[in-house]
């Protein structure tokens, strides 16, 4: 018995064709869809009805933790753990804590950005079915791909293939899972 299909993949030569195709795929009712391109295409965001990235809210809390944690750490060091009289300055000489507080805010926000990006993209992911299509190698250089996954309720091997063929792709291929 053949392995179940991951989906059907259509290949396009230009970003414009891909954008048009994603619009038609969406209006046809397909929802388990993804597009692959060698460069970011802002228009896909709208044509595929993708939600805005939730990444900034994680980064905000990362930065907040860095800022509050950093400032708290410095206060705790200066007032509790190791109080030092430096030229008669108050123990809470908070102005001189600002540079380190700022640096720790940026540090934590930056590391959160990276960690969240990796997590939201589900990386690292060494194996993915789309790599089974030999021509998918070109997705990182010059070609544009659209995949309708077989899990989509409207997916039907014959009818979906016919539909994809109406979008004038360079080629439609089956993606083995």
């Amino acid at each position: 018995m053949r392995k179940p299909l991951y989906g059907l993949m259509a290949e396009f030569a230009t970003p414009e064709q891909l954008i048009e195709a994603t619009e038609k795929v969406h209006s046809e009712g397909y929802r388990k869809v993804d597009a692959y391109s060698p460069l970011p295409i802002e228009e896909l965001h709208h044509s595929m009805h993708l939600p805005d990235s939730k990444l900034p809210r994680f980064v905000f809390f990362g930065g907040l933790a860095g800022g509050l944690g950093g400032f708290g750490l410095l206060q705790w060091i200066s007032q509790v753990a190791y109080p030092l009289n430096i030229g008669g300055r108050p123990l809470n000489s908070w102005v001189s804590f600002i540079p380190i507080t700022f640096e720790l805010t940026v540090l934590l926000a930056g590391l959160t950005t990276f960690a969240t990006l990796i997590a939201m993209c589900g990386l690292p992911l060494p194996y993915h079915p789309v790599f089974n299509v030999p021509r998918f190698k070109l997705a990182s250089s010059e070609r544009f791909f659209l995949v309708i996954e077989s899990e989509d309720p409207r997916f039907d091997l014959v009818r979906t293939r016919e539909f994809l063929n109406t979008l004038h792709p360079h080629e439609v291929s089956e993606v083995e899972s």
Binding site: H45, Y82, G110, L117, K137, A139, S140, E142
Partner: protein, 466 residues
């Protein structure tokens, strides 16, 4: 990606960028861009200039390691700094290297926020330059501690000694500023590399390269859903790096400005240091980019337009730096402070007067040639000017540190500073390490951001061969 293309009709403006000189040579499509840049690590093998350059800089790096060995076994008495000049080459070179790093972040972060598309083809290797320059810079304070194996004492962590660092000291601010800068620069650089590493993975022919690039690419497949997160993350990292880069040299300048020494205790220091950092950084980018684009035939990507723009940035920041020099002289007079006046007189006419006047010549007078279009078009001349600015910015740190320290308040504690051969071998060795790392970088990673340059390909020619 700010592309004002009408997708319905497929019409575009005149292609890439307004202006007579394009930031991407005409006639390129996605495939040719990918091929030209990826071919440098994948297909060009081991060209003779690479082998010669790498071997030479590797040997110079070994001189650095030998010096480090000496410093660790014998102690930092091998170096020249002593009372009254306790900060010699080690701090001069620390500030010099950190400054050089600043151009990378400026290009990758600030110019990204300003939507300057010309930044795309120079951002990658300017960021690499940042990381390697910061690595060189960190060597100096680390080995100047004398006991580098205890460098972690500078970090706040619970320890059996019951001791904590002193958060009111600019030197501790510096620890946090530079280590954060190094970390975030590496993160930003790596995030930018991920899509290109996927390109390298898919184009590599040898199994080893496929696996190596594949592991580094983390399985990136260019999914539209991922690009949304990716673009958001890039923008956020750029937004964070912008104040970060400005803060780093500000904090470095606090190392001096918070002290009470005439010649250091000045409010002009933070902006003047930041401008100087960008000035020297762009000079170093040009010093590296001009030979690289001609050796590796990347003139389609690093065009005359890039060199012209970088010259203009150097000219602008150079004028800010010149204003800083002028303000120092003005404040020495206007403050009517005897110590300040003496400091300036000593700086210009004292035993180190030659360094001040060479600095004015190298950093202020010679770069004025960049006002002229013919000079900015003459690549050989720009290369020479960029080298001169690198030397000039080194002299600036020499002037600030040595001439301020060697004659301060008490004539009985005056003295002279003479760098020893170990000062020189450490400094020259660190240049060797920097260049050696650059050679390795150019050989193994795409030195221009491929996916960003693809966005410069005009939409009407996109798609390439059919």
């Amino acid at each position: 990606m700010a592309d004002n293309v009408d997708l319905r009709t497929g019409t575009t403006g005149s292609g890439v960028q307004a202006g007579p000189v394009p930031v991407l040579a005409p006639g390129h499509n996605y495939e040719s861009v990918s091929e030209s840049i990826a071919a440098v690590p994948l297909k060009q093998g081991w060209p003779k200039f690479w082998l010669v350059g790498f071997t030479a800089t590797f040997c110079i790096m070994m001189m650095l390691f030998a010096t480090i060995g000496g410093l660790v076994f014998k102690g930092i008495g091998l170096w020249g700094p002593n009372v009254p000049v306790g900060w010699g080459f080690d701090i001069i070179n620390f500030v010099w290297w950190i400054g050089i790093g600043h151009a990378g972040t400026l290009i990758s972060a600030i110019l990204l926020l300003l939507k300057q598309q010309w930044r795309m083809s120079i951002a990658r290797f300017a960021e690499a330059m940042t990381i390697f320059a910061v690595a060189c810079a960190l060597l100096y304070p680390t080995f100047h501690t004398g006991r580098p194996w205890l460098a972690y004492w500078m970090l706040p962590y619970p320890n059996t000694m019951g001791m904590w660092p002193q958060p009111r000291s600019p030197l501790l601010w510096d620890v946090f500023a530079v280590s954060t800068y190094a970390t975030i620069s590496i993160v930003f650089w790596y995030v930018g590399l991920i899509p290109d590493l996927a390109t390298m993975r898919d184009r590599a022919k040898s199994r080893f390269a496929q696996v190596a690039y594949g592991m580094l690419a983390l399985g990136w497949r260019g999914s539209a859903k991922h690009w949304v997160h990716y673009e958001t993350a890039s923008l956020l990292l750029a937004g964070m790096s912008t104040p970060l880069v400005l803060s780093v040299h500000t904090v470095v300048s606090f190392d001096f400005a918070v002290g009470l020494l005439p010649g250091w205790h000045a409010t002009i220091f933070p902006p003047y240091f930041v401008a100087g950092a960008i000035y020297s950084g762009f000079a170093m980018v040009l010093t590296l980019a001009i030979p690289m684009r001609s050796w590796y035939k990347l003139k389609d990507f690093i065009t005359a337009k890039h060199i012209d723009n970088m010259c203009k940035v150097m000219l602008a920041t150079g004028l800010i730096v010149a204003y800083g020099y002028f303000m120092e002289a003005f404040m020495a007079w206007y403050s009517a402070n005897g110590w300040e006046t003496f400091m300036f007189k000593n700086r210009t006419t004292g035993p180190y007067g030659w360094s001040y006047w060479s600095l004015i010549l190298f950093n202020v007078l010679i770069p004025q040639v960049l006002w002229f279009g013919w000079a900015r078009k003459n690549v050989a001349l720009v290369f020479v000017v960029s080298l001169i600015i690198n030397i000039g910015m080194w002299l600036e740190r020499f002037v600030i540190i040595v001439t301020s320290l060697h004659r301060d308040f008490l004539p009985s504690s005056w003295g002279m500073y003479y760098p020893t051969q170990y000062d020189w071998s450490f400094y020259i060795g660190s240049i060797g390490m920097f260049l050696c790392l650059m050679y390795i970088f150019i050989r193994v990673l795409p030195s221009i951001s491929i996916f960003e340059v693809r966005t410069l390909v005009p939409r009407e020619t996109k798609g390439g061969h059919h």
